[in-house]
């Protein structure tokens, strides 16, 4: 039987990685990812998990080690944050086009400068185009479930892609929540052993990572793009199977009180919980407001998102990332692109909030909704607005 326990989310994620029987775990410490890898290291040290924990000397080495491990046929896991994730950046593009499955939990954190260990999504948005499947968790249970789901999807021979599960640093990684930890037997049923189609094996020698001359480079990248698009089907399938075994249902886009909504907030990650409270407060006050939460970020579930918007005419999109000099945040840009020249498309207003650990409160969500309503009547001068900036 699965058990419901009060547990820190990072520890629960490590337990999930253990339940997934990860085999090689190269990791380098960075706040706020540390508790995940510390606990995994402890599990290996105590013999609770039969795995190789490789305490590498940098995140770049961690990702490089993951590539070697996955190519040799082992179930591979790592975790990182912010500066560490950026240090990996050169390598991140490689396992995805080389189709090397692995799972990474990113405890999202702001990027320097100024140095900040606190939460936002700037670290992962820099890595938007690395060609990994990416999901965002809202709470601890989801972090655990998405971690298991990630192994299932990444290693599916129809997919064979690396996968990132994003969890908000501190606001998710360091909180204690009641979480249902699945049964080993159920996890084994959900997650068959990793059997890659190709691996480094002297009995069947292959060459991996060759030179891509101009005659083949485009085709290699197109094959990767196709694989990402095709992956959506298997991502959904793996969520359906997850529901059958564990009873919890996951969708690429979640809707909350969207019926007859005039304004829909759009969020990713743990601020969605506050957003739901804000929606409840606003509904209580008679405002027709709902929430859409994007769980699957790459490949982007355009069809599902459009369907979830329905007839709502105003979207207030919240980015946890401020790309200086850009037209708006990455989620805002994605959605503007999705609805470009679509008849009856909603008006999309882009907001940036919650940078570097700044709280986004219920009041802030009310402010965002109020502004979106104003903008719908009178076009704003700027393409996005940063919420909660102190004047003094």
């Amino acid at each position: 039987m699965s058990k419901r326990v009060g547990i820190e989310v990072s520890i629960a994620i490590a337990e999930a990685v253990g339940l997934a029987r990860a085999e090689v775990i190269p990791a380098y410490p960075i706040t706020p990812q540390t508790h995940i890898v510390e606990h995994l290291s402890e599990m290996v040290a105590n013999g609770e998990l039969d795995a190789e924990f490789v305490p590498v000397e940098s995140e770049h080495a961690a990702m490089s080690c993951c590539c070697g491990s996955s190519a040799a046929g082992a179930r591979t896991f790592t975790s990182s944050s912010a500066q560490g994730l950026s240090l990996m950046s050169e390598i991140l593009y490689i396992p995805s086009t080389m189709r090397l499955p692995m799972v990474m939990v990113v405890a999202n954190r702001a990027m320097s400068a100024p140095i900040s260990i606190w939460n936002d999504h700037q670290d992962i948005m820099i890595q938007r185009d690395i060609g990994w499947i990416q999901t965002f968790a809202e709470n601890g249970q989801e972090a655990v479930d998405l971690t298991l789901h990630a192994f299932r999807v990444a290693e599916d021979r129809n997919v064979s892609l690396p996968m990132i599960v994003n969890i908000d640093g501190f606001t998710l990684s360091h909180v204690i929540e009641p979480i249902e930890l699945p049964d080993q037997e159920d996890v084994d049923k959900y997650l068959p052993p990793f059997k890659p189609r190709y691996k480094l094996d002297p009995r069947r020698p292959i060459t991996m990572g060759p030179v891509g001359i101009p005659e083949v480079y485009t085709e290699a990248k197109v094959a990767h793009d196709k694989a990402m698009k095709k992956a959506k089907r298997y991502i959904l399938k793996a969520w359906n199977e997850f529901e059958e075994i564990f009873g919890r249902k996951y969708n690429p886009v979640e809707s909350y009180r969207t019926e007859d909504a005039e304004v829909l907030l759009v969020t990713m990650g743990s601020i969605s919980e506050t957003a739901m409270t804000a929606v409840d407060v606003m509904r209580e006050a008679g405002q027709k407001v709902g929430l859409l939460r994007i769980r699957l970020w790459r490949p982007f579930p355009g069809q599902e998102f459009r369907k979830a918007v329905g007839k709502t005419k105003v979207l207030a999109v919240i980015d946890r990332c401020l790309p200086p000099g850009a037209l708006c945040g990455p989620v805002g840009a994605e959605l503007r692109s999705l609805f470009y020249k679509i008849p009856g498309a909603p008006k999309i207003f882009s907001f940036v909030a919650g940078l570097g650990g700044r709280d986004v409160t219920v009041e802030r969500f009310q402010e965002i909704v109020d502004k979106a309503r104003q903008f719908a009547k009178k076009r704003p001068r700027e393409l996005y607005e940063v919420i909660g900036v102190r004047e003094k």
Binding site: P26, E57, C67, G209
Partner: protein, 312 residues
Amino acid sequence: MIPEFEKFKGFKAKNLPKDEPLSSGHRACQGCGEVLALRMVMKALGKDVIVCNATGCMEIITSPYPHTAWRVPWIHIAFENAASVASGVESARKILARKGKIPKKHVDILAVGGDGATGDIGLQWISGAMERGHDFVYVCLDNEAYMNTGVQRSGCTPYGAMTTTSPPGKKSFGQVTWKKNVPAIMVAHNIPYVATASPAYFVDLMNKVKKAALVKGPAYVHIYSPCPTGWGSAGERSIEISRLAVETKVFPLYEVIEGRYIISRKITKPKPVTEYFKGQRRFRHLDEDHIAYIQRRVDAEYEKLLRLAEMG
């Protein structure tokens, strides 16, 4: 003494393995001493090996898709990280063997990179892998500059040598720094086996690579690799130049077994360094003063090595 060495009788010119894990037909320049050294490395290791190649000449000349010169499993990820990739492969094979998912039979893990990939950009990655004690062999094929990108200087470029980023000019005589002693850095990691080798002494080279593979834990072999294109030397002279590098004490051959230095080929009647410089365009501009300095420093470095060997 290393117990694994006891059963190894050593290669001799008469009993060289017939296997060619690295096929001919690759795209190396004529007279490339690096690919020749790599061929010897692979002959010494045989078929039960997984190769993790750093970006560089050897990577590009052997793997232009859809062709490959490799008859053994081979992976290339990036420039600086071959040792980390090898760490991953080694760790994976360890756990997979423990779980009975792959045969228990030993497979050598080879990481290979040039002098830039090893002594400059990849030093941290190699240091990490050595310190963690992975059972693998790292081979540095040292052609003394960034040849793949067009002959730029590296930390392993010898003093005075001309490269495209250490050009001699009115205010410069070429490379201003002495060659970085990468083998000594590896020795400082207290790994069980470090050696230098040269393709001119191919039996010695193969024996060293085999010993590096036999030893449990990390091992490092630094191989002198002539580059006619980058050095401005005649292709047919690569082996001759390799031999002169040893005979002039410029590139001494030695092993460091569990911290103990052993000179493989003691040079009692050294030739002057000018013999070595002859026919290498990269040294052509050097004046007498610089040559005299190099001779003094080469002698002094060799003395240091002898003293290390005497310490036993």
